[in-house]
């Protein structure tokens, strides 16, 4: 008997244990640790909208994605006749030198990260829209938040269509990995379809966003949506729309030019009366919240004899071509370009905050972008030890509205001089009585120099090849280089379902 119980007891125990485990399927039901889900954060939809804005700060140009980083800088400024690659000749010869010289191929890393960065942001917008549609929030707030997100999505697609032409038009979130492999997410839409979608997004935003004075700082506004929509229409040659929208922005009374052009790119000039939409940077979590490398890559670089702690890597140098295009007395010239002292007098260059840049024998290049300079002494940063510091990017400002208004008026027969001359006046220049198209284009170039506009503007004006070749970029091929190559990695992944742009 005793022996039997010895055997039976452990067996029963074993059976009970096994039973306990098998019955409690909950043993295998382990919630993800630290995992926020759509169900355990009630404020998720609003937070996702902030997340969409946050995605505009992508600057992982050599990695996962770029929206406003070094890659963006390369395909807007360096690619144009306004700026050279800069730094030393071999530094970033691939991929930036290839963009500057139009020797780029479909494996150019920056083109790839611009494609993936923009689509990631578009994806974040689609995620936010999906959650907003089901969130339990006030309907006015809902449509305003949707308006903000659709403004950003429209802006992103506008960049995409200008960079790549027609792209896959992705306006929803894939259900799962299988859905993400369907044609909807792969095949390129036509450029006109993309433009139509941009128009719809911006129209919604125009209808549902409040005016700037009724809106929190930094958020997309009705004025921003109208301005961007005007610009989108300008790229499509719909001048009546451009005129109507810019007139409305002007009439709204929300905006005016700031008196001193040079302050626009300082912290003091952030979100000024002239500002319509900016990419905002500041601080978070006791650190700078900025775009990777955006300012450091444009910073003044030590060279020659060295001997000083420099400001950055020295890319994106304004060209002599740009320096020479300013009229005499144009105040904008010295607000746009840091000229390095090459006189032999060794005086150096004194900047607005009192910082002196040494003369050319200790500096790598002769000109740098003043609009990317941050001041260690006169501006506030969470982490001043980092050479890459926050600097708002001015995507849309009132001067652009005035110049668009002037160009539309020129096409449709209206008052061209008034809007144009208000821009010239601030720059310290005499008014033009009968401005021509060339006058407006010249004004656009110097007013918006180094502001990511020039190259696309030339393509819009239909004279990219002519201007590029004239400026010495002899590799430019008309009918090819107006657009960037679609990343080869994406084409390979699709088994050639994604088509390449012409002649690449």
């Amino acid at each position: 008997m005793k022996r039997t119980s010895l055997l039976v007891k452990p067996l029963i125990a074993l059976a009970i244990i096994s039973f306990a485990f098998s019955c409690s399927s909950s043993f295998l039901e382990v919630p993800l640790q630290g995992g926020i889900t759509t169900s355990n954060d009630p404020a998720l939809a609003q937070k996702l909208v902030t997340g969409v804005y946050s995605s505009l700060l992508q600057g992982d140009s050599w990695g996962n994605g770029d929206v406003h980083g070094f890659a963006f800088l390369s395909v807007t400024n360096i690619i144009s006749d306004d700026a050279d690659k800069g730094s030393t000749p071999s530094d970033q010869a691939v991929p930036v030198g290839d963009i500057d010289n139009f020797t780029l191929t479909s494996t150019n890393k920056f083109c790839e990260t611009l494609w993936s960065g923009h689509f990631f942001s578009i994806g974040m917008a689609n995620q936010a829209l999906a959650q907003l549609s089901i969130a339990t929030i006030d309907t006015t707030l809902r449509s305003q938040l949707i308006g903000e997100v659709r403004f950003i999505r429209g802006y992103l697609y506008f960049n995409m269509v200008r960079m790549f032409g027609g792209v896959p038009l992705v306006l929803r979130v894939p259900k799962d990995a299988t859905d993400a492999n369907t044609d909807y997410f792969i095949v390129r839409a036509t450029a006109s379809d993309v433009y139509a979608a941009i128009g719809q997004d911006l129209q919604y935003a125009t209808n549902h966003l409040p005016l700037k004075s009724k809106s929190a700082v930094g958020h997309a506004t009705k004025g921003a949506a109208q301005t961007l929509l005007a610009k989108v229409n300008m790229y499509q040659g719909k001048w009546d729309q451009v005129l109507a929208l810019t007139n409305e922005v002007i009439a709204s009374g929300q905006y005016q030019l700031v008196p001193d052009y040079s302050t626009i790119w300082r912290q003091a000039g952030d979100n000024s009366k002239e500002s319509i939409f900016e990419i905002e940077m500041g601080s978070f979590n006791n650190d700078n919240l900025d775009i990777d490398n955006y300012t450091v890559c444009q910073g003044v670089r030590v060279g020659g004899k060295g001997g000083w702690d420099d400001l950055g890597w020295g890319f994106n140098n304004p060209t002599t071509d740009l320096a020479n295009v300013y009229e005499i007395g144009d105040l904008r010239k010295n607000s746009t370009i840091i000229f390095i002292d090459n006189s032999g007098a060794h005086k150096g260059t004194m900047l607005w905050d009192g910082f002196r840049i040494p003369s050319s024998d200790s500096v790598q290049n002769l000109r740098y972008n003043y609009k990317a300079y941050t001041s260690r002494t006169k501006e506030q940063f969470a982490n001043i030890g980092d050479k890459n510091r926050p600097k708002n990017i001015h995507i849309l400002r009132y001067a652009d509205v005035l110049l668009m208004n002037a160009e539309a008026a020129l096409h449709l027969g209206g008052d061209v001089a008034t809007p144009l001359n208000s821009v010239r006046q601030r720059a310290g220049l005499l008014p033009k009585a009968n401005p021509t198209q060339d006058d407006i284009w010249q004004e656009r170039r110097v007013e918006l120099a180094m502001e990511h506009d020039r190259f696309w503007d030339l393509v819009r004006q239909g004279r990219a090849a002519q201007v590029m070749i004239a400026s010495g970029k002899i590799n430019f091929v008309a009918g090819k280089h107006e657009l960037l190559p679609v990343p080869n990695s994406q084409i390979l992944l699709s088994g050639n379902k994604i088509t390449q742009n012409p002649n690449y």
């Binding site: 295998l28 998720l44 997340g51 994806g123 958020h219």
Partner: protein, 1032 residues
């Protein structure tokens, strides 16, 4: 023996001293341990002796010596020696050991016994651990391999895994040689496409994937379950093979003390010779038309000499073991100090082990095996989260690329490589930070065994693995000015010092409950096992950092830093598994064997609809040598045929692989710098909610034999294993809102087919001299057989102009290199211009003389990624090992032992990634390239002309990876003594490698899609060490 003593006064004295020391030690340990072994001191007459194998003269460890008709006795130590007290009345000794015929010897007046045991039927009678039980080796129907602890101890290596290299067919060990790392194991080819390639280690019942805490000296036995039928009992854990490690136990009898050490030095085994200043200048002049424009002082730096050193390596182990009738114990202390060959790198480890067993009653037994380890890794590379701070991860790559014209350091100021448009100064990369990882780990397994009847055993075992790691990374403040550098400038600086700490604690428990029934009915032998297991893993970590802490290490605490720079983070992980298992072993008349097992596995890592999976196996074997018709042949002593089939799985994917989660703290500063940012969130993953187990199905057939009086033994194995539902991180379109554009999915299947051969010969030339010769070779062919949707997976991205370098596609080995094909070098610009396609388009319009001519694979008249071709794989066609050993033993003059082992790979390719990422014209080049480069005078077609780098990925960078290496050479001498054993030896690990590859090493661990790429790998090391083994 008395003669020896009287003949040599010196020996007498030294023996006396040793005896004295031994007694003191003994008393001390008695006190410390509180282990009662009173019987050992009460003695009537002490007898000593040594048990050897008649066959080869080798000592037999663990043999039982019992006084006939009593339970009094002892077992032999590792060297076959024994010593214990007998009563005057005791008549004879019975000496027994598994695999040998039992002997009985009269005691009489004799005090020393030299006993040679007759082999019964060789090592096949040996019992090995097979998972939740033991089995006689001859009865196993699956593919397994066994290595003894003493084999491992010979080699001055950190982990036991490394010592297995080349010893076992079908098991490829890829070791980087870096201190503090665990080598990678591939059992029978690459069996997954995901990074979850970790082999399962079962250390005394504790399941783990990292054994860097285990002191090699603690291991008595390693058994590797190679095929799916053997590993199926571990179900979903078995896909990458199972390595069962058994640590030593005490044995009843006298207290035994042993001390083992080795002290040696390591150095870089193969260095790539880089150009010196003259050679470099010549090359740069040719490439750019200008000599290098060096700011400040021109140096002539050998950067490898700057950062490498001859490093000291030492390990010490003290072991005390013994036991009485009812208890056994083993206590072991180990210390290991492994300086890296890179300056400032050092790994230290202290281990303690206590293994005790208690026979409470005749039916109740319990015990535990516990080990504690404490390690410190200073400036280790590849340590978790180190690259977040400092530049240590880039040191190797920087060293390869650093220009020789820049001095390393002059009067305490660093040469400014980065202001020369070159990489950061590698020496400063090391010196500008201090990274230390401390880890404590407690691993423990305790069990309770009840044997209510002779035929049934119930066992419940509980294993825990407790890990606590603390990382501390300090990053010094320095600027690119004249205080730090010879000349100011460049982008190597850190304007604010930074201290980062991270603490991680994990707790993992495994609970096994099994019942084993053993019955013999006539000629039928049954063993039936049934049981359940449950396991749970939890991890918590947090990290913090602050800036502006002074360089004094006494200040390196978070509280000292600027609170306005505080950052912190934290997280956790948790998963569970639950399994039920059963196994039947049946044998009929010792001739016909059947093993069948099944395991049902549930895992929390998989979605609920795919949570449970069954893993069955069956194996059959026929021992022909036990058949009557084999009696008349004299060739085979043992002959076995076996076939098996089994299934194993893999769930090594992150716990969040199938659920969508929100990423918090994606903030935006709506008001610019005027006010702090607003917190936001992103949903930035897309998942496959239906992922399921990766399942490996394997067929195996083998012949095992012992022949010619057991002088020759061998095994031939064929296997065919298919991994289905392959889990991989596959790339998705950039249009997918996923941050890294990679999604874990089941993507297809991959096949490994192969043959393993192993042969061993052992013989003795005369009474003194015996020898063994052995070798093994494995041929493996890996092939992707079905990718769902046919979407090939690019991998091996190494940046620069190279892009991805591997492609995993149908019909090819996993991770095959996929690059442009170099046809030759253009001898003139005219040559380049004449390279046209059929329509007359210039294929390489921008090419000049001295540039590579690439193959236009798709014939579209241009060279781009679509012209890539497959160029081989990192997976060897064959890998092999061999060993030779001699033993010369004399009674009076001691004995000599010699062993040599080799290891090699054949048919694999290496991608010379470090050469490929020469992204700047200022980067250094290999010396060989300076002389062999294309010029008008030297227009061979193998090297391009001098260039500024940025070459696309091509076959130029794919090099043969075959190598053969003398893995280990050891010569040892054992002093002639019976009171104690004293052996001294000299050993060398990785003495010499013959390889075709031009880089450091062709042995490159990595995950399946990205292996075999040498980018910034730790130089392989050669070790020469002296060691002592003492036991008494």
């Amino acid at each position: 023996m008395l003669n020896i003593i009287s003949a040599n006064d010196y020996l007498v004295n030294s023996l006396k001293i040793r005896l004295l020391m031994r007694k003191q030690l003994l008393l001390i340990f008695l006190f410390v341990l509180g282990v009662g072994i009173a019987g050992a001191m009460a003695q009537e007459k002490i007898i000593t002796g040594r048990v050897t194998s008649r066959e080869d003269g080798k000592s037999v460890a663990g043999a039982n010596i019992v006084v006939q008709g009593t339970t009094r006795g002892t077992t032999t130590d590792v060297d076959g020696n024994f010593k214990f007290a007998v009563d005057a009345a005791d008549a004879s000794l019975v000496i027994s050991f598994i695999g040998y015929k039992t002997q009985t010897i009269a005691i009489g007046a004799q005090t020393y016994f030299d006993i040679a045991l007759e082999s019964e039927a060789s090592q096949l009678q040996e019992v090995v651990v097979v998972g939740y039980g033991v089995q006689k080796k001859s009865d196993i129907t699956g593919a397994t391999a066994n290595i003894k602890g003493e084999e491992l101890l010979k080699q001055p290596v950190l982990t036991a895994t490394q010592a297995i290299q080349g010893k076992v067919a079908g098991v490829q060990i890829i070791s980087s040689g870096q201190p503090g790392t665990t080598p990678q194991i591939r059992v029978r080819g690459v069996g997954t496409a995901f990074s979850g390639t970790n082999t399962l280690y079962v250390v005394d019942g504790v399941l783990t994937d990292d054994i860097s805490n285990i002191n090699t000296a603690d291991i008595t036995d390693i058994n590797i379950l190679k095929d799916a039928s053997a590993a199926a009992i571990y179900g979903s854990r078995g896909a990458n093979g199972v390595v069962i490690i058994t640590t030593r136990r005490g044995s009843s009898g006298k207290l035994k003390i042993s001390y083992n050490n080795n002290i040696g030095f390591r150095q870089a085994a193969n260095l790539v010779r880089m150009a010196n200043t003259a050679e470099y200048s010549n090359y740069v002049q040719d490439a750019t038309g200008n000599p290098p424009n060096v700011p400040g002082i021109t140096g002539n730096t050998n950067w490898y000499k700057t950062i490498l050193r001859n490093a000291l390596e030492q390990s010490h182990n003290i072991s005390i073991s013994g036991g009485g009738d009812k208890t056994t114990y083993l206590f072991n202390i180990g210390y290991l100090d492994d300086q890296g060959i890179v300056i400032d790198n050092e790994f230290k480890r202290f281990t303690i082990r206590l293994n005790n067993d208690y026979q409470i009653t005749d039916y109740l037994k319990l015990g535990f095996q516990s080990s504690y380890s404490n390690s410190s890794n200073q400036n280790g590379f590849g340590n978790i989260d180190i690259d977040t701070y400092g530049n240590i991860g880039s040191v190797y790559n920087d060293t390869y690329r650093a220009a020789p014209v820049i001095p390393s350091i002059v009067d305490g100021k660093y040469g400014n490589t980065s202001s020369f448009q070159n990489v950061g100064n590698p020496l400063l990369d090391i010196k500008d930070n201090s990274v230390k990882v401390l880890e404590s780990r407690l691993q423990e397994y305790s069990y309770l065994e009840v044997k209510p009847k002779e035929w049934i055993k119930l066992k419940s075992g509980f294993g825990v693995d407790w890990r606590n790691s603390l990382n501390r990374a300090y990053y010094y403040q320095f600027s690119n000015d004249n205080n730090t550098f010879v000349t100011a400038g460049g982008n190597q600086y850190n304007l604010r010092s930074n201290l980062g700490v991270k603490n991680a604690q994990s707790y993992h428990w495994v609970w096994d409950n099994t019942a084993t029934i053993t019955k013999k009915i006539g000629k039928n032998d049954f063993t039936f096992l049934a049981g359940m297991t449950a396991e749970k893993f939890s991890l918590t970590w947090f990290s913090a950092s602050r800036k502006d802490i002074a360089a004094d290490p006494n200040l390196w605490y978070i509280g000292v830093g600027d609170a306005n720079s505080s950052q912190n983070d934290g997280g956790g992980d948790r998963w569970t598994r639950n399994s039920y298992l059963a196994r039947l072993n049946y044998s009929y008349d010792g001739k016909y064997l059947l093993t069948a097992s099944i395991r049902a596995d549930g895992s929390s890592r998989l979605p609920v609809q795919n949570r449970w999976q069954n893993y069955p196996s069956v194996g059959l074997a026929w021992i022909l040598s036990n058949e009557g018709f084999m009696d008349n042949q004299r060739i085979f002593d043992f002959l076995k045929l076996r076939v098996s089939y089994g299934k194993v799985g893999n769930d090594q994917i992150p716990t969040n692989a199938y659920s969508v989660n929100v990423t918090p703290n994606t903030a935006y500063a709506f008001n610019g710098s005027a006010s702090p940012a607003t917190n936001g969130s992103q949903i930035r993953v897309v998942v496959d909610p239906n992922i399921t187990w990766e399942t490996t199905t394997e067929k195996d057939a083998a012949v095992e034999f012992n022949a010619l009086n057991s002088k020759l033994s061998g095994e031939i194995n064929y296997y065919d294993k298919t991994v289905g539902n392959l889990l991989a991180n596959i790339p998705v379109y950039a249009t997918t809102p996923d941050i890294d554009h990679l999604i874990i999915r089941n993507i297809g299947s991959v096949q490994n087919k192969g043959i393993e051969l192993s042969l061993n010969w052992k013989n003795k030339i005369n009474d003194q001299l015996s020898y063994t010769v052995g070798g093994n070779v494995t041929f493996n062919k890996n092939k992707v057989v079905a990718l769902n949707g046919g979407q090939a997976i690019p991998g091996g991205g190494i940046g620069a102009a190279q892009g991805f370098t591997t492609l995993t596609d149908n019909g090819q080995a996993i991770g095959s290199f996929h690059v442009l094909k170099v046809l030759g070098v253009f001898n003139s610009d005219a040559d380049a211009a004449a390279y046209k396609d059929v329509s007359g388009t210039m294929i390489q319009p921008t090419a000049h003389e001295g540039d590579f001519k690439y193959f236009d694979a798709n014939g579209d008249g241009k060279i781009d990624d679509n012209d890539r071709v497959f160029a081989g794989s990192y997976q060897p066609v064959a890998y092999y090992g061999g060993n030779v050993s001699f033993n010369y033993a004399t009674e009076k003059k001691g004995s000599w032992d010699f062993s040599l082992s080799i290891y090699g790979n054949a048919g694999n390719k290496v991608y010379n990634g470090k050469k490929g990422v020469r992204i700047s014209g200022t980067d250094n080049v290999e010396r060989d390239l300076v002389y062999s480069r294309w010029t008008h005078a030297n227009n061979t077609q193998s090297q391009p002309a001098a260039n500024v780098g940025n070459l696309p990925g091509s076959t130029y960078f794919v090099e043969p990876g075959s190598f053969i290496r003398i893995n280990n050479v050891t010569v040892g001498y054992t002093f002639p003594s019976v009171k104690m054993k004293l052996r001294v030896y000299i050993t060398s690990q990785n003495l010499f490698t013959y390889k075709k590859y031009s880089g450091f090493t062709a042995e490159l661990p990595g995950d399946p899609l990205n292996s075999g790429i040498e980018l910034s790998s730790y130089p392989t090391t050669r070790t020469v060490a002296l060691g002592v083994n003492v036991s008494f």
